[in-house]
């Protein structure tokens, strides 16, 4: 009984644990990323301040870089503060079965950035609806499993390195510099259609957009 139990349980356990699945764990940034999920979980479960400090050391320097890229130099550490306080507050909502830690942390940083810009009165169009309602954190759907989440992230990580620079640049401007495709086109003096097709090609390579489109018959 015990033996057969072990035989069945072990591979499933390993499958569910993204830490042991990562083939490129040798890459330094990748391995540091894999500790993020247990750290968030420790903050959620025990309000673990040591884990929170480690999370801060791994993530906060990148949030500051994000703020600077976004053109928020003078508010960069204010954003770091908002992001980390939100990580503490909302750690219990994190579920590695529903989203990778890096995905969840990105959503927290994105929402905190939007909120801070709204607070500073820099948003062009305002609405009464709160940021967290407009951009909900990932994971409202059925859990897909930590393994699948890890696979999605790993595929993206691996194919990002293979993207032509021009496609990568456009994605970076949209995600990291808060620029719409229209603004990217203006900045690079390219037709909007060219920018959009670069993005489309990149998304296909990254397998980010699910291809099956249900068409009306």
């Amino acid at each position: 009984m015990q033996v057969s139990n072990n035989v069945i349980v072990l591979p499933i356990n390993r499958k569910m644990d993204p830490n042991q699945q990562d083939p490129d764990a040798g890459e330094d940034s990748a391995s540091s990323r894999d500790v993020l999920a247990p750290l968030i979980e420790a903050v959620a479960a025990q309000r673990d301040r040591d884990a929170f400090r480690q999370l801060f050391q791994a993530f906060a320097p990148k949030v500051k870089a994000y703020a600077i890229k976004q053109g928020m130099l003078e508010h960069a550490e204010e954003l770091v503060q908002e992001v980390m306080v939100n990580v503490w507050r909302r750690a219990a909502q994190f579920d590695r079965e529903k989203a990778a830690a890096s995905t969840w942390l990105f959503a927290i940083a994105r929402n905190a950035r939007i909120d801070l810009l709204r607070k500073l009165g820099r948003s062009s169009q305002e609405t009464q609806v709160e940021t967290d309602y407009l951009w909900s954190l990932p994971g409202s759907d059925e859990p897909t499993g930590a393994f699948q989440q890890a696979v999605i992230v790993r595929n993206i990580r691996q194919s990002l390195g293979d993207l032509p620079q021009e496609q990568r640049d456009v994605i970076a401007k949209v995600y990291l510099e808060d620029k719409s495709h229209q603004r990217v086109a203006e900045e690079l003096s390219l037709p909007l259609g060219t920018v959009k097709s670069r993005v489309r090609l990149a998304l296909q390579k990254l397998k980010v957009i699910l291809q099956e489109r249900e068409k009306a018959v």
Binding site: A65, T127, D141, V153, L176, V208
Partner: protein, 221 residues
Amino acid sequence: MSQHHPSDDIMMEYAAGCASTHLALCVAVHLQYCPRCRANIQRLSALGGEMLQQLPQEDLSEALFERIMLRIDLEESAPAAPQKPVEDLLQRWLPDGLNAVSWRKQWFKVYEYVLEVSRKGRQRLSLQKISAGGRAPLHAHYGQEVTVVLQGGFSDELGVYEEGDFVIRSGDQRHRPRALENEDCICLAYLDAPVCLAGPIGRWIERFRRLFMPDLNAPAS
């Protein structure tokens, strides 16, 4: 499941957080109806996560962590009421649901309920209703019109749209939406510039409007 979805570039701008708040609201309402787009947003967010992780590390000030812990300690000593989850993004305006809206008549069988208007009246977030079988007047737009079908359905020259569908019409596309025969059609609509009536009567109305409201005619900035 809905059949008309936001384009890939809108989806990406939404996931990246660089869509305007009103466009984001329209996408978020569509997401409530569409599991496929929810899965895509999740992947697009994973891409954002990866872009963020690949950024270099910036040095932080010495005391930043202590400042953060101080704030957290302060909050823990006076815990705020837990945020309640939203069932419906439009709840704020429609506490009693779509049936309790006090509609304002715009045209035969066409009604509007304004949710938000920008200061200059240029951008407008509203609910629009066409009674079953009714038709809106032929019109184009000075800017872009984003529509998400909340109830019923409508058709125009370019397609048939049902609950949850996300539709964008740009300025040069003239259309005449018509509600399906059996049910009132209610949509969330976001206009980034006013509509422009077309057709013989519409052109006369437009001529008067240009005289009295010249501000509305300049192209959207």
